[in-house]
């Protein structure tokens, strides 16, 4: 869907050359939610702005849906841009227009006739959940509502791609979640390819299929969210993953915790890696097998591709029953590691 090949962007600032994006290549598949994460200054914002040529690339080529963006000019470029929606951190709405007029804006640009425009605007208002706020001006809307207007506006011309430049960074956690849910919803409903730039790992965790980690203008690590989360390789990636997963201090102290656990049965570490295991797995085990299972420590998180995290449990009971229980857990494609055996 999107193919970025050897793209480079060099800025001149006070006669100094600054390479914001350095020979970067990336492939993004149709219909996926692709996250790009990095600290500020990593070049991620420049990267997303290169995609619709808000920034001119210094070198390299960008192909979106078969069109070589980097070769387009004038009217062709403007038409190609109509097929790429974009939402912004600070929403960038026209304060002089109401909700419906803001959403109609890209349709006016595309030259859609009035009756068709009104119909489309109403559909979009319903889609993003702003019914009743049609006549409100941006100053009368909350941050979350403003971003909903931004999303509706970005979707007006039925784009194939949606670019999100830190779209939730100015919102509180609860509003962030509702906006992310909306993005997943439109991704599924409309089959839209979404590219999302963020510095918040929980955004990636919550909605992305794949992720690229950027540092100093380059991608240092890329892969399925689940793989990157369960096995981060680069130091930056590890730092980001720690944002949402247990931190190493806690990991190290597992031995300490075990000291206070009575030496009975088996202590197991369960690894949930992208499994869609029933969240009630533990209680199911307790019901099916005559063993007592107690949770000692755990950190479990939900991603787009299933549950991710670890759980340390103690199982006490008949040895064969424990074995049966372990097999049952393994069948749910959860990795089981015995870290202490006192049977």
């Amino acid at each position: 869907m999107i193919s970025i090949q050897n793209v480079k962007k060099v800025f001149t600032l006070d006669k100094n050359l600054i390479t914001a994006v350095d020979s970067l290549s990336l492939e993004i598949k149709e219909g996926e939610i692709f996250g790009v994460i990095g600290y500020s200054g990593a070049g991620k914002s420049t990267l997303v702005r290169l995609l619709n040529r808000l920034e001119e690339p210094t070198d390299g080529s960008i192909i979106i849906d078969g069109k070589e963006m980097t070769k387009l000019k004038g009217k062709n470029l403007r038409q190609a841009r109509q097929e790429i929606g974009m939402i912004f951190q600070h929403f960038n709405l026209l304060w002089s227009r109401t909700t419906e007029e803001n959403i109609a804006f890209p349709l006016e640009i595309a030259g859609v006739p009035k009756t068709e425009r009104n119909k489309k605007v109403q559909e979009l208002i319903d889609l993003v959940g702003l019914t009743g706020r049609e006549k409100a001006y941006p100053s009368q809307l909350s941050g979350g509502q403003k971003q909903r207007v931004g999303i509706a506006r970005a979707l007006a011309n039925d784009p194939k791609v949606l670019l999100c430049d830190e779209a939730t960074s100015a919102l509180d956690p609860e509003t962030t979640n509702s906006i992310l849910d909306l993005l997943v919803d439109i991704n599924k409903k409309l089959g839209l390819t979404i590219i999302l730039i963020t510095h918040e790992m929980h955004v990636i965790r919550k909605i992305c299929d794949r992720v690229a980690v950027m540092e100093k203008g380059n991608i240092v690590e890329t892969g399925n969210v689940i793989d990157v989360f369960s096995n981060p390789e680069q130091p930056v990636t590890k730092k980001f993953v720690e944002q949402v997963m247990s931190n190493p201090d806690v990991e190290e102290s597992v031995d300490n915790i075990l000291e206070h656990v009575e030496k009975r049965g088996k202590v197991l570490r369960l690894h949930f890696i992208g499994t869609f295991a029933n969240e009630a797995l533990i209680s199911e085990v307790s019901k099916k097998f005559p063993v007592d299972t107690s949770i000692i420590q755990g950190k479990i998180t939900q991603t787009q591709n299933g549950i991710l995290g670890t759980l340390i449990v103690q199982m006490v009971g008949n040895t064969t029953e424990i074995e049966k229980a372990i097999n049952f857990i393994k069948e749910a494609s959860v990795e089981v590691e015995v870290i202490r055996d006192d049977t």
Binding site: Q79, N92, L94, W95, S96, P106, E108, Y137, R153
Partner: protein
């Protein structure tokens, strides 16, 4: 100085007031159009503007600065040949219009430029990301988004223009300035000067009130 308004000719006063309104309104319209064009040109050709162009920006800025630097009373005199060429006379309210517009438009142009610079760059970027042409950006983003500032700017300019019409009047353009100067000051009929001043102050208040009202009404921020 007598305050019984013995010297006052009400017909002449009405005509003078009408002429002042006439000159102000026509000149204001011309100033608005020319000023918006100048302001847009300054803004668009500026660094990082949509039509970034150092040469045009420099030329426009120079013209604006030169015409703003010339005192209005001298500008009228300098423009006599041009006025004569355009209007066919150098007397009367119509003859004042070229000088009024050329005197006020550069000032308003700068105010327009400032108003445009206040627009959030992100909004322009959003319009670009939707595939808007420069024309669409001008008419659908730049002008509507800066409208309250454009209106308060034209209000300030209108008040300056009322002052200019009085000056133009003193050298034969008609209006309240002319009446106050020729019939009033030169014949020691200070009641005329006084009444003309009061009317000018009232006109200024009216313009200020209307300007503030419209500007506030348009501002949805």
């Amino acid at each position: 100085m007598t305050l019984e308004f013995a010297n006052l000719d009400w017909d002449k006063l009405m005509t003078a007031t009408y002429e002042t309104f006439y000159m102000t309104l026509i000149a204001l319209t011309g100033t608005f159009i020319l000023g918006v064009l100048l302001g847009l040109l300054l803004y668009l050709t500026d660094k990082d503007g949509l039509w970034e162009n150092k040469v045009i920006n420099f030329i426009t800025a120079t013209i604006v600065n030169v015409f703003r630097a010339i005192p209005f009373i001298i500008l009228i005199l300098l423009l006599f040949p041009f006025t004569y060429f355009l209007i066919g006379t150098i007397r009367g309210p119509n003859a004042a219009l070229p000088a009024l517009i050329i005197g006020a438009a550069p000032f308003y142009g700068r105010l327009v430029e400032i108003a445009l610079k206040e627009i959030d760059k992100g909004v322009i970027e959003a319009a670009q990301s939707m595939g808007a042409s420069t024309r669409s950006i001008i008419f659908k983003v730049l002008l509507p988004e800066s409208m309250p500032a454009l209106i308060s700017g034209i209000t300030v300019t209108a008040i300056a223009l009322i002052g200019y019409t009085a000056m133009a009047g003193a050298i034969g353009a008609g209006g309240l300035g002319s009446y106050a100067y020729y019939a009033g000051f030169q014949r020691r009929a200070f009641d005329i000067v006084f009444v003309c001043s009061v009317i000018i102050v009232l006109i200024v208040f009216i313009f200020q009130f209307i300007g503030d009202f419209i500007s506030k009404k348009l501002d949805k921020r």
